[in-house]
Symmetry: C2
Subunit: 247 residues, 2 copies
């Protein structure tokens, strides 16, 4: 996949021991400043109250020297995306986010602008899920029916944000996260799944994919029985090659 | 909703301290025996390996005096459902199950047969999710895209199986089960959600809904801020009336 995409895909906005987005401050600031961007359009579609959500994000970004404008405040969201240099797509419910992006005809527009290097993309949690090939590996409840599970496809594989090895109690019989991801890996349409631990950031810089932040990631591959750990700093650019070979 | 439905909707097949389906043995045996049914058609669509899955279920039911035949062994699944007196729809992945039911044109057929009192329905976990109004409140990962989230609608509300108050660790920032259900409750299309704790069985007997098994349930209602606990033995038939009023 030939791409000029520039993106930061965060596992989550919250990370234990940090205030909102604080764990990612250095990466976000460096990402935007080196590209001379001081204004972000914020996409609040993953939550219900757009104004409240935008205020929260604004409160985090303003002290870092960036201005934030909610996409919902524009009468024409597509025109706003077309004029934007950078967007931040926040977390919440992945199904609600993807459906609203489709409703506003933004999925293909964002893909084209990002892939051609004309729009910087920062996503967190649900905002990271929709940046990938599809939302098949979200943890969210399917509270609303989107027209497709196909997503923006800035990267040609899947991500599981908030990745955690085991969250159930010893006596609870619901599936673990790994069991859920393994169910997906058995599907004929399965892509590799990168499980981003909370605090992990996937830095997409054209053909380079590097793990940043304060926690690593775990890779599940089709026909590979064992997941593989990648620490902060690991180069996972091969995931672009893998997708090329199997597409 | 006028219904002659006869159903047992289990939160799960596994329950801490019991072997497979053992916690529900008495209810299942009584349900089938009082209706003179000794043969079950098993719907294995929620998992990948139909033969293995059917064998597991057969191994549980055979000692209780019931025979089990996998629906996948019939060349015409619709004809098999038409001839069946009782079905057991097993757990696994809710999206895979619902898609396969739609692919085989069984959703409406099962609804009609159950609602008119011509087919006994036992479901567990994903098999319980698809028996409700929609799969909006499944816990499963959306590993495959079904043509709709609307489900069999034996009951006119939603169920969250494997309900648990809190499953995340103290340091993990992913949403709790309650937060996920509350996101759904904010949707304009939201129905009430009955969270069945593992070990809980909803017994549907025409216009009567009673909680059975070894654990209770929790009810989330639209515009009601606090969830309400219902113990084993509670009559929740009012949920049919609620739906009538709001439909």
């Amino acid at each position: 996949m030939q791409t000029n995409a520039q993106a930061l895909l965060l596992s989550s906005s919250n990370c234990h021991g940090f205030s909102l987005l604080e764990f990612a401050k250095q990466e976000i600031c460096s990402f935007l400043e080196t590209r001379n961007v001081s204004e972000l359009v914020f996409v609040p579609y993953a939550q219900k109250n757009y104004d409240d959500y935008t205020k929260k994000i604004k409160d985090a970004f303003t002290p870092w020297g960036f201005s934030v404008i909610g996409l919902h405040t524009y009468s024409d969201p597509a025109a706003a995306i077309n004029s934007a240099k950078a967007i931040f797509v926040g977390g919440g419910n992945t199904f609600l986010l993807l459906k609203t992006l489709y409703d506003n005809q933004l999925v293909h527009l964002i893909r084209e602008k990002v892939i051609t290097g004309n729009l910087l993309y920062i996503g967190s949690s649900a905002g990271t899920n929709v940046a990938t090939k599809s939302i098949h590996t979200t943890n969210d409840m399917p509270i609303i029916y989107p027209p497709s599970f196909d997503a923006i496809s800035i990267v040609p594989f899947n991500i599981n944000p908030h990745y955690i090895d085991k969250i159930e109690t010893d006596t609870h019989k619901g599936e673990t996260r790994d069991q859920r991801i393994e169910e997906y890996m058995e599907m004929p349409h399965a892509n590799p799944v990168l499980g981003l631990r909370e605090g992990c950031i996937l830095h997409v810089n054209g053909d380079s994919l590097v793990l940043k932040g304060v926690a690593g990631a775990v890779l599940f591959e089709v026909n590979v029985s064992k997941k593989v750990e990648y620490p902060v700093g690991a180069d996972v650019s091969f995931l672009l090659n893998y997708a090329k070979e199997t597409c």
